[in-house]
């Protein structure tokens, strides 16, 4: 049936949207050193000792030490934002 063919249009459309963005670039891998750099940025801030920055920073550093660098970096960044009052 002709109308059934038209019902397949959405699938064609969805597959058409999954386009490729060309050659891939990469970001630098985040390591424990970057965790330490973030912790170093946090330490002198006045709000670093207050919650929730303090506990976020502690969690982030612990995650980095345990090898969960990506999650640890995210926690430390949230601690920095909290410490700056953002």
């Amino acid at each position: 049936m002709v109308p059934c063919t038209f019902l397949l249009l959405p699938f064609f459309a969805i597959s058409a949207t999954a386009m490729d963005g060309g050659p891939e670039l990469r970001t630098l891998p985040q390591g424990v050193a970057y965790c330490q750099e973030l912790a170093g940025r946090l330490a002198p801030l006045p709000g670093a000792a207050r919650e929730p920055a303090r506990s976020l920073a502690a969690e982030g550093s612990a995650l980095c030490r345990d090898g969960h660098v990506r999650t640890g970096v995210a926690k430390l960044r949230r601690a920095l934002r909290a410490a700056q009052g953002r």
Binding site: T17, G22, L25, A74, R77
Partner: protein, 474 residues
């Protein structure tokens, strides 16, 4: 099978799909569906511009503002200050959405989290859409690259994963909507075709019956008084008219057979008489002359019938010209005044100085002559006939009245049919074609003909008849 043969075959034996596609109702519905889809596309364009497009513009504006701020900082304080600023921005990017890169003129990476500039980087191109792998996770990003005055490069970018997801969501929704709309368009077209077919079926069935030779069926009307009922009414009116004409033709044929039988039989008997009187040259000549006169009468009837047909066909309309009716009336009155005088009748005339009109002079003269001929024929000796004409608004009114036996109301509606003769006129010579020609001439001129009671005679036993013609001036 060749395509042409397939096409011919499909027309001879239409399948459901062919019947659907060739239906007018389907095409109408498809037209409306197309318009509906175009409107939907316009709506989609606006929606896209307002959502995915707005997000695009918003992201680009944020990237450009960030890059410009960093470039200004670079001009004020150099590479180190920009490196610090980039570090600060990255440190606060809890969602891990941003991308930065500062390179020295020699291409050495100075700051940022991006490994390198895009492969196809060109100084004159600032915007790039890139595939970005972040800690092993692939995504898409938008990158803005600024060439600084010393040849350094500053790249600022954002992940556009959210935008891509929104775009996919919109596309999916719109594609589903389009699919469903198209489905309903086809379903609607199919329903419309069926509805049209159902409404037209009675008309088609009636037409088929009539094509089969039966003129009596009529298109049944639904009572909705819609376009189909109007079409059915028009068809029924047309069929009534055709049936009336057919009946007329049949009547004319019967009348011709009936009315011509007498003069032809008479001519035959004259010829037989001539055979018997073959020895007497004078009697033979007399019989032949009477036979010829009878046959001339037959010929005159045929000529009259042909002339009426010619007038009714409208072929004489091309000969229409401006004319004055007064000289024409004078001619007719002169001609029939003498005849009336011979019969002891008085012809009274009255008309203005001029009566301008557009028409065929010969036909109008013939019509007036036929009316006067009838009046003279039916008015008894000593009676009066009047021929009057006057100007009435934008038309000429001609009135011929007599003191004859008149016409009953029933006969008045039938006068004008070929060969029709009222009962009281049977004893009077005539073919029954005179008023038919008058009616045809009046119709050709766009006028009307009607009858009124004429001038009764002194005894009051003859009501008289007035024949009135109204002829528009142009």
């Amino acid at each position: 099978m060749p395509p042409l043969a397939m096409h011919r075959r499909s027309r001879q034996h239409p399948g459901p799909l062919w019947r659907l596609l060739s239906s007018a109702g389907f095409r109408f519905a498809l037209l409306f569906a197309t318009l509906f889809l175009l409107a939907g596309l316009a709506f989609t364009g606006v929606l896209w511009w307002g959502t995915a497009g707005a997000l695009d513009r918003q992201i680009d504006a944020a990237i450009r503002a960030d890059a410009v701020a960093l470039a200004e900082r670079w001009r004020d304080a150099g590479d180190a200050a920009v490196s610090d600023a980039i570090g600060e921005r990255l440190a606060l990017d809890a969602e891990d959405q941003t991308v930065y890169l500062l390179t020295a003129p020699d291409g050495q990476r100075l700051a940022g989290n991006l490994e390198q500039l895009p492969d196809g980087f060109r100084p004159d191109v600032q915007w790039y859409g890139i595939a970005l792998e972040r800690d092993g996770i692939s995504g898409e990003a938008r990158l803005f690259v600024l060439r600084l005055s010393d040849g350094s490069s500053l790249a600022v970018g954002r992940d556009i994963g959210e935008k891509v997801r929104l775009r996919a969501l919109l596309t999916e929704g719109l594609a589903w909507s389009a699919g469903v709309a198209i489905f309903f368009a086809f379903a609607g077209a199919w329903l419309l075709r069926r509805a049209l077919e159902a409404r037209l079926a009675p008309a088609a069935a009636t037409a088929a019956l009539i094509a089969g030779g039966d003129l009596s069926p009529r298109v049944p009307l639904s009572g909705h008084e819609d376009e189909f009922d109007r079409l059915g009414q028009s068809m029924n009116t047309m069929l009534d008219r055709i049936a009336h004409l057919m009946e007329g033709v049949r009547g004319v044929s019967d009348a011709i057979a009936h009315d011509l039988r007498t003069p032809i039989a008479r001519a035959r008997s004259r010829l037989e008489e001539a055979l018997d009187a073959a020895d007497d040259p004078a009697a033979l000549k007399g019989a032949l002359e009477r036979g010829i006169a009878d046959l001339d009468n037959v010929t005159r009837v045929f000529q009259a019938v042909l002339r009426i047909a010619e007038v009714e066909a409208g072929a004489r309309r091309a000969a229409f010209a401006p004319l004055d009716l007064v000289p024409l009336l004078v001619d007719a009155a002169d001609l029939y005044g003498a005849t009336a005088e011979e019969k002891g009748q008085a012809l009274h005339t009255a008309w203005p100085a001029t009566l301008p009109l557009t028409g065929d002079r010969d036909l109008l003269l013939q019509a007036v002559a036929n009316l006067l001929d009838n009046a003279v024929k039916f008015t008894p000796p000593g009676g009066a006939i009047s021929l009057e004409a006057s100007w009435q608004e934008d038309a000429v009114l001609v009135r011929v009245s007599d003191e004859g036996p008149g016409l009953s109301q029933e006969d008045r509606s039938r006068v004008g049919e070929r060969f029709f003769r009222a009962d009281m006129a049977r004893a009077t010579p005539g073919s029954g074609l005179g008023l038919s020609l008058v009616r045809a001439v009046v119709q050709l001129h766009g006028g009307t003909l009607w009858f009124e009671d004429g001038q009764p005679d002194e005894g009051g036993d003859r009501p008289g008849l007035a024949v009135c013609l109204r002829l528009p001036a142009a």
